[in-house]
Symmetry: D2
Subunit: 118 residues, 4 copies
């Protein structure tokens, strides 16, 4: 059993656990742009001490590169902070953004967004 | 020597390490609002593998409460991600937001913002 | 492209990036036991500001459960702290421990250890 | 109000929240040694989803240096993982180790241990 076997994925419009990545489809190389990442974009996820989204990790996997880069980890205080951040990054090559999130009850989830870099 | 003795503070307009918290001055109890937290608002801090802001922690200390609440921790991939996030929180009492940040060369820094909750 | 596609795995005796999990093969339900997790058990990994293991995440996937539980995350100060911890956990069912680690140059790695719980 | 004003301290033999640092009193410069850090060494702290120790941060403040170094952060899955780790570090100068921990109900705590480096 591998981590990839236990990270779930689905359509965020019907499954509230899926992290959603919003960015421009195309950005300029080495220029800062905004990335919005959230769980519960269309269907709100509970946010209580007993049941909440603990964190979201964000990665970039550049096309053709063997190695993935960790862009950031965002951890949310249960009940007070929503699993929803805007951050600011710069890339230098086309690739795939990957968001990885954790619900303390419903485990690991992921989603992707391809991004073009010119 | 205590942690409070080694966390530095200054005016962010003249010292690039100070984390800055931007929120409304007054919010409604238990209603979500945006908090923007960043290092380098007025004077940019370097962002390289050798010298960067690793993370920002955000707390609320409610007036008169003995205990402080951890709202979130935001970690930034060196060279790719800026120490600059917008997150979404809700409070139920007047208090002081505290941001705590870390430069891998210049150590620990903090700043505060009082917030009224009605 | 999924996270599972970019997390690498190998034999730790020949590949220095693989996290290694050491525990008893069988433990008692709800009784604390030690888990040792490390990168570089047989072949040392560099530990410099420019090249280091940033963190190790540890999970348990209980047999037959749909959801995975995050046991802990361990983050290591570059150049000063080795990616090597002993921690103390308790389980209540048979399952698979999964370690997930990150090298700032060579990306994401994982390994597993099955553990029997009686 | 500063972070130092809201981080509590006490004798760990009478107050269960205080993190305890165990190391040799003297170590050799640039040689790895073990550091054990835990909350609840003498008096056990609860470990449930509703009430637990979320994390421990570990720092070194070298004597006479203006800046503090973050040695590691250790985060513990509620109910399954105890706030108790052994990690491996190396120092190159005399200083003070500082542990900083967080209880989701009882807030921020700290303790120190001076360490001689030869
Ligand atoms: Fe959930
Ligand atoms: Fe700096
Ligand atoms: Fe490496
Ligand atoms: Fe407590």
């Amino acid at each position: 059993m591998k981590l990839g076997d236990v990270i779930k994925s689905a359509d965020f419009k019907s499954e509230k656990h899926v992290p959603v990545i919003d960015t421009p489809d195309k950005v300029k190389s080495d220029e800062l742009f905004k990335v919005e990442v959230q769980v519960g974009k269309d269907i709100h996820h509970p946010n209580t001490v007993e049941h909440h989204i603990s964190w979201i990790d964000l990665y970039i996997h550049y096309d053709g590169d063997p190695n993935t880069v960790h862009l950031g980890r965002f951890e949310f205080g249960p009940a007070v902070t929503e699993p929803h951040v805007v951050t600011h990054i710069k890339l230098n090559k086309k690739g795939t953004l990957i968001a990885h999130s954790y619900c303390n009850i419903h485990g690991l989830w992921e989603s992707q967004k391809e991004i073009d870099v010119e």
